[in-house]
Subunit: 204 residues, 2 copies
């Protein structure tokens, strides 16, 4: 229901989103040390006071940016699953699922998250703050991959091979941080999709 | 041949090694920002002047520490391959090779290297400096894995599955940075080794 407060709330939401997007860009392009509330506010074209109203501390900003990336990625994964289910069958479907999953680890989102994880490794307070987020992200990513592949997670072989596929994707993401690894990555993805398809004993 | 200069050279070598070990410890425990020449020198019990004699810049110190980790890891991989070849056959051997490889990505060395890679992602000068090292490390790690598995790298399926195993190891290493992931990791390694063994069509 429309209220006289809505336009102000909309502006506030838009400001919040601009700050989160600027945080991700700062982290991915200039690294952890440069991603402070004031640098992010400037990049977003938001006053420092307004930025601090939304995110009183740098940790609040960083945690909210991780949550934002997570929600965006899960929406994207859902859309990918629908597309893949509509167009591909058999090994082609497995390859499309593995490829989309792996490519999601080569985005600015992954590069931004890597800056946060690596900093959190030596910062116990930040680490405690992001661990619950990471656990939830891991569980939901796994469930989305299971759904996209159309397999039965109660089978331990299936469960562990899908987990391994997520771990492989993370490793391929890390390999892409310093160089463009896309040509090599395509060959790895094609081979792993073929091996995974056989090992999962998929016929559909 | 002993010369009057040797004791001094020995001391110099020992100082250099202490500095490199302290660099790795600093990076792994306290992260990139804290690993400066003066902090490392203090940790190593070396004067700042002596540290700067060995490593004029922080970049010199960091690059040398990466090289040191790399040489150590390659010596370790060679020793592992000899042990594995002596004790295990069949799938057990494949599992032992994969397990040793993966565990090497969960050490303080990996955690230290991750700090450097992540910082280098947003520091072009450091990135240019470590890329040749990383390329050499990748090539030799691959060759060592091929030798340990006793497989033929000229077969493209073999080549790409061994590459995928190294990428998986990197991903599992990253998953261990914020939490102790060892229990989950063991299940993934066992399943990957079984699937790899079948896919490589190994009978020995």
């Amino acid at each position: 229901m429309a209220t006289p407060h809505e336009p102000k709330q909309d502006r506030s939401r838009a400001t919040r989103q601009r700050l989160l997007e600027a945080t991700i860009d700062c982290l991915a392009e200039t690294g952890w040390a440069a991603a402070t509330v004031s640098v992010v506010a400037e990049r977003a074209g938001v006053s420092r006071g307004a930025a601090q109203h939304h995110f009183p501390t740098r940790e609040d900003l960083i945690t909210a940016a991780l949550e934002f990336m997570f929600e965006f990625r899960m929406d994207q994964a859902k859309a990918e699953a629908e597309t893949v289910n509509a167009v591909a069958q058999g090994e082609g479907r497995t390859r499309a699922v593995v490829s989309a999953l792996v490519e999601s680890y080569t985005t600015p989102f992954f590069k931004a998250a890597l800056q946060v994880w690596t900093h959190a490794a030596a910062d116990p307070a930040l680490r405690e703050r992001i661990l619950p987020l990471e656990a939830r992200f891991g569980r939901i990513s796994h469930r989305r991959a299971i759904e996209a592949l159309g397999v039965d997670d109660s089978d331990p072989v299936t469960h562990h091979l899908v987990q391994a596929t997520l771990d492989l994707a993370r490793g391929l993401g890390l390999a892409d941080v310093l160089t463009d690894d896309s040509a090599r990555r395509k060959l790895i993805v094609d081979q792993w999709a073929a091996t995974l398809h056989t090992a999962l004993n998929l016929s559909h």
